[in-house]
Symmetry: C2
Subunit: 365 residues, 2 copies
């Protein structure tokens, strides 16, 4: 990136380093303030409907036996990120681990032993300079595909998502505005599907054409690139987002991470969460409308039951509709998969199930 | 598909059913011959350099207590495939399971209990009518992306793989000629990369542009769609294929499945395997050319060692260069990941490692 954002991030990285240098010049113990990523510093913001980070910070000192190594690691990672941004290259967090791994001169110590350590420091740097890792030119795994009624510019190449055949556009890991821009968009909503098989089904049936939407899948829990893209669809294009998942606790959880973020990565919610997202299905009440589902339900396992009970307690599932939904799953003792809709007929999902849900505005929020 | 292939497959499906009907009309016990997918019926064809299926068959009879259910299942699956082909729709194997799952009238029996059962019957139908499951309009998981010096037509949409930005074209599960066609191609070779992070690295560095190639990743073991696509690149476009994987037994195995197929799916080798594929790295000898790798190697674990020893015994790894390669890994006791090349510098892989390998024709075959 060579944009305003990159310049701002570099400035913040240099700012942090500059403070340290000044402290050293004054002959004092240099330090850097790292906002705390502990559970105690995570807050549920009911009004904004996102999980966000509180204001607690920890000072990381250089002259402190328990902090010196982390202090060094922090600047090593920050400096590598600066190099990446300046050379306009991006790296996976695994590559960053290797880039920063070395033996410390005259010792038997390595800067990092395992990637766990550098991953943690990456999160420290993100919160310390208030930048998403993507803005530090670091990337997570890439997966998922997109088709639909939108034109996207990706690194200068124009992608007409209406003419992407059966495969679609492979969603990159970094979708920041410097790399990805939106052009002509006639979509009326965005549909995120948990499973690639259903995405292929809906694409084959040209669901996105008939219903004017953008169709994405993240092959399971959507990666960061997809969450960020959804966030941008909502904030920049003002599109509603519907999430379509298996009816099981894992499906509820995927929806909740898309909607209000996760506890572990609370500091990113503001740019990754999509509080406007709505749950379009599968609902445990669908079997009442579609009795054929009884033939293809799956008995809840022990772990499904305990996970559902956990989810019942989350503050962001306290709305009465959600309590009713989850309790009904527990009461009936069964779950359903997206593919189970094929029991009725292969295109039932695109010709009947989804159109009816959308027409009736039959969503959970 | 509405093509010649589809018609031929339907004809074979009907042919099998027709035989059964004739037998019934003669008042005899109807049966269908299923080629055996047992280890004993798998042969290593040294000349063609693929794992292929032998000629042994088993007759599956209707009037046979141990076979009646499978007989019924076989025709249930075959009939669903015919419906799919005729309606020009495709289904995932999970969807097919749901499509064919039902309770058998007047009994407590279901046609299928678990997907394992229908998956096995799918393989039976594939071998019985000599069609890939993709030709039966069934699909496996979809993953992986492609960029490069080629134009591809996907369901009538023209995909210029030179202008696919940072994301690329998402490779669909079914890439049969009825759906995917190749147009203008100036690529000189195909590079399959194990990991998406490296694919993104090489795409960011425009490696495919400088070296005129097609760049693919399958995010790990490549799915069937990618293997079939590689096979078509070789047979139709006569392009060499290079496989670029971690230096560990899993990397060797990925290469070998691409090259000569797998024991489990030996019957597909003829249309999925790429015996021309070459191994471009990482090699256990790379540390001799690049001593920096010593700083980022990983000690082999117990399971790596036993897997490497198994691989040493496979007939398709008997060439002396391969024996030397695998033995060297065991001797040194370490493995390397693709990302480890970033230790030198982030673009070392695209600027030095791969260009040198290609220039020196430093491959294993």
């Amino acid at each position: 990136m060579s944009s305003k954002t990159s310049k701002a991030v570099i400035q913040r990285l240099r700012g942090a380093a500059g403070e340290v240098v000044k402290t050293i010049q004054k002959g004092k113990n240099p330090s850097i303030g790292i906002p705390l990523r502990t559970l105690a510093n995570v807050k549920w913001n009911e009004k904004r409907f996102i999980i966000e980070m509180g204001n607690a910070k920890q000072e990381r000192f250089f002259f402190n036996v328990s902090m010196a190594k982390k202090f060094m690691q922090t600047f090593l990672v920050a400096s590598s990120c600066q190099d990446l941004i300046e050379s306009q290259k991006s790296a996976s967090i695994r590559e960053l681990f290797y880039m920063t791994k070395r033996s410390v001169a005259d010792t038997k110590e390595n800067t990092f032993e395992e990637q766990d350590e550098s991953d943690e420091i990456i999160e420290d740097v993100e919160v310390a300079v208030n930048a998403l890792r993507e803005e530090l030119n670091l990337k997570a795994a890439k997966k998922g595909s997109l088709v639909g009624d939108i034109t996207i510019v990706d690194k200068g190449d124009t992608i007409d998502a209406r003419r992407m055949g059966s495969g679609g556009w492979a969603i990159p890991s970094i979708v920041e505005p410097e790399i990805i821009q939106f052009r002509k968009c006639d979509a009326k909503f965005v549909l995120l599907v948990e499973k690639d098989a259903l995405w292929e089904r809906l694409n084959e049936d040209k669901f996105w054409q008939k219903h004017k939407c953008i169709l994405l899948t993240g092959n399971g829990q959507p990666p960061r690139g997809i969450r960020r893209l959804l966030n941008r669809f909502v904030t920049e294009l003002k599109l509603p987002v519907y999430v379509f998942v298996d009816n099981d606790p894992w499906g509820y959880y995927i929806y909740s991470v898309v909607k209000q973020g996760s506890i572990n990565l609370a500091y990113e919610s503001i740019r990754m969460a999509v509080p406007q997202a709505k749950f379009i299905g599968l609902s445990s009440y669908d079997r009442e409308s579609y009795p054929f589902l009884d033939e293809v339900d799956i008995k809840l396992e022990e772990q499904d039951i305990s996970r559902a009970k956990q989810i019942l307690e989350y503050p962001w599932f306290q709305k009465k509709e959600w309590q009713r939904e989850i309790r009904n799953m527990l009461k009936t003792g069964v779950k359903f998969e997206l593919e189970a809709l094929a029991k009725k007929r292969i295109s039932f999902v695109s010709e009947e199930y989804l159109p009816k849900k959308i027409k009736d505005k039959d969503f959970l929020d």
